[in-house]
């Protein structure tokens, strides 16, 4: 393995591990579940894709082949979908949010629609 390739592998692995750590810091530090889903969806996707790219460069085309590409595509497909599912769960069920809890969208919350009329 040539020297520049080793440096590239190290750079990708370090960037990926830092991105995973930043995503988990967001999961711990951000104030409500919507923000945490946002942090996990972006940071974890970037981190795992960078780690897998480092692995692909380290192993080479002959040994890694298309399996690492399949793993990268799988991360790109699944992590945002899981994050979106959880965010939709929060949005539809009026879980506690930070601030005044309002979201400017052109549809009402399902939990508000489901409430019986008062009086």
């Amino acid at each position: 393995m040539s020297a520049w390739r080793e440096w590239l592998v190290m750079a990708f692995s370090l960037a990926g591990a830092c991105s995973v750590l930043i995503a988990l810091l967001g999961v711990v530090r951000l104030p409500d579940a919507l923000c945490r889903a946002h942090a996990l969806g972006k940071g974890m996707t970037l981190g795992l894709v960078l780690l897998l790219a480092g692995l692909w460069l380290s192993l080479g085309w002959e040994r890694a082949g298309l399996k690492v590409v399949a793993a990268i595509a799988f991360q790109f497909l699944t992590i945002p979908v899981a994050s979106h599912l959880l965010a939709r769960l929060v949005f539809e069920n009026s879980y506690p949010r930070h601030g005044d809890g309002s979201i400017d969208v052109d549809r009402t919350d399902r939990s508000e629609r489901a409430q019986p009329p008062s009086g």
Partner: protein, 98 residues
């Protein structure tokens, strides 16, 4: 040099996993716990990637695929069951809330 960088990566991922476990234990709502579970499983995937980088082996690629798909399907199943429970709870008076 290469070994030192890889050890640093392992350390960063250990810290990230511990943060995820903390959120899994503390998380005020069930969605936070599902989120933290997903995060911990993805950290395990990252550990597998780093280990196969460390050992220079390509035999763990299937393990990477299987672990990430298990985490994803677990999250989807928990979200689907929770959605059904919350829907049923909304029609009555007392809504289900963990």
């Amino acid at each position: 040099m290469n070994e030192a960088i890889l050890h640093l990566d392992f350390g960063l991922l250990v810290v990230a996993t511990l943060l995820g476990v903390w959120r899994l234990a503390v998380g005020p709502t069930i969605v936070d716990r599902i989120l933290a579970f997903d995060a911990v499983v993805l950290c395990a995937v990252g550990f597998t990637v780093l280990l196969s980088n460390y050992w220079g082996s390509e035999h763990f690629l299937e393990l990477i695929l299987i672990t990430s798909s298990l985490g994803f399907f677990g999250t989807v199943a928990l979200a689907a069951f929770l959605r059904r429970t919350e829907d049923r709870g909304q029609s009555g008076e007392g809504r289900v809330r963990w």
